[in-house]
């Protein structure tokens, strides 16, 4: 089973995703894609680590190439997040369009796990025209989000910690 969690920055995506994983009895694996840049990055990572500490997650740091993540079979996997992963593949790994590569990675994780929760980020609703490279990143990320959503059993959007179900698989939206 695959569940996609999307939403704006600080809208409660991580907590929602963790809660879903913690409802399963499988071994809990957290794939972290965020590279610790500067003070703020360190702080965000520290905050997320605290949130997961008591929940029994094993953390795997995998900034790119998720298809190489060494995860035990039949585990419950939380991949966070596609926004970072996509940026890392493009800007650190130098892959101009990582769509197919990331989708192969997702397929691999789906095959290895009994439950895969994917967190992504909603980045294209502020109406601002960014530089060409940023616009290209946004377009690629949205394409990947659509592809994952299509294959997911459930797509959840978070709004200030509340949940909207877009496939009505886990819960009604109302």
């Amino acid at each position: 089973m695959m569940i996609l969690v999307t939403g704006g920055s600080k809208s409660g995506k991580s907590k929602t995703a963790e809660d879903i994983i913690c409802n399963s009895d499988q071994k809990r694996i957290y794939i972290a894609t965020m590279q610790p840049y500067g003070d703020e990055g360190q702080k965000a990572i520290k905050r997320h680590r605290e949130m997961r500490k008591e929940k029994g997650f094993e953390t795997i740091e995998q900034y790119t190439d998720i298809e190489n993540a060494d995860i035990p079979e039949e585990s419950a996997v939380l991949l966070e997040c596609i926004g970072n992963l996509c940026a890392n593949e493009i800007f650190s790994n130098g892959i101009s369009d990582p769509t197919e590569k990331i989708m192969r990675g997702i397929k691999y994780l789906q095959n290895r796990s009994s439950l895969l929760v994917v967190v992504t980020s909603e980045v294209s609703s502020d109406g601002i025209e960014y530089s060409e490279s940023t616009m290209k990143y946004m377009k690629i990320l949205c394409e990947i989000n659509r592809r994952i959503a299509l294959q997911s059993d459930e797509v959840i959007e978070t709004v200030f910690g509340r949940i909207i179900s877009h496939k009505d698989f886990l819960m009604g939206s109302k």
Partner: protein, 126 residues
């Protein structure tokens, strides 16, 4: 407290005015709101701008929001601003983060919560 959210210009205040019969004189805009104001029964709109103002005054928006909630405002309206690229300016990043955190707190403490899109309200709580 009723919490109404949504993107800019989606009709949040119009919806609140119609649905909850808000008088014009009971509306307080975020930029005009101050932490010590009597907000009982009021409709606080553009609350994200109040958060920005508090940050500019080096105050903690979350603890001030806790105090404001205790005074029983009727409605709080706030924009969703988190669905974009990470802002270049640190101050904007802090604002965006604080709007998210305060929003989660308000959602938690609201009796009802609605999100307005194209003038249509979708109930998210209550």
């Amino acid at each position: 407290m009723k919490f109404i959210v949504g993107g800019a210009f989606q009709g949040k205040l119009d919806y609140a005015a119609k649905e909850y019969k808000v008088n014009k004189c009971d509306i307080i805009k975020g930029e005009e709101l101050t932490e010590n104001m009597n907000v009982e029964g009021k409709c606080l709109t553009e609350y994200h701008l109040f958060i920005k103002k508090m940050l500019l005054e080096n105050k903690d928006p979350l603890s001030i929001t806790e105090q404001i909630i205790e005074k029983n405002p009727n409605i709080i309206i706030m924009n969703e601003i988190g669905s974009g690229i990470i802002p270049m300016e640190k101050q904007d990043r802090i604002w965006r983060e604080q709007v998210g955190r305060v929003g989660c707190y308000l959602a938690e403490n609201a009796q009802t919560m609605e999100r307005v899109i194209c003038g249509i309200a979708v109930k998210l709580k209550g």
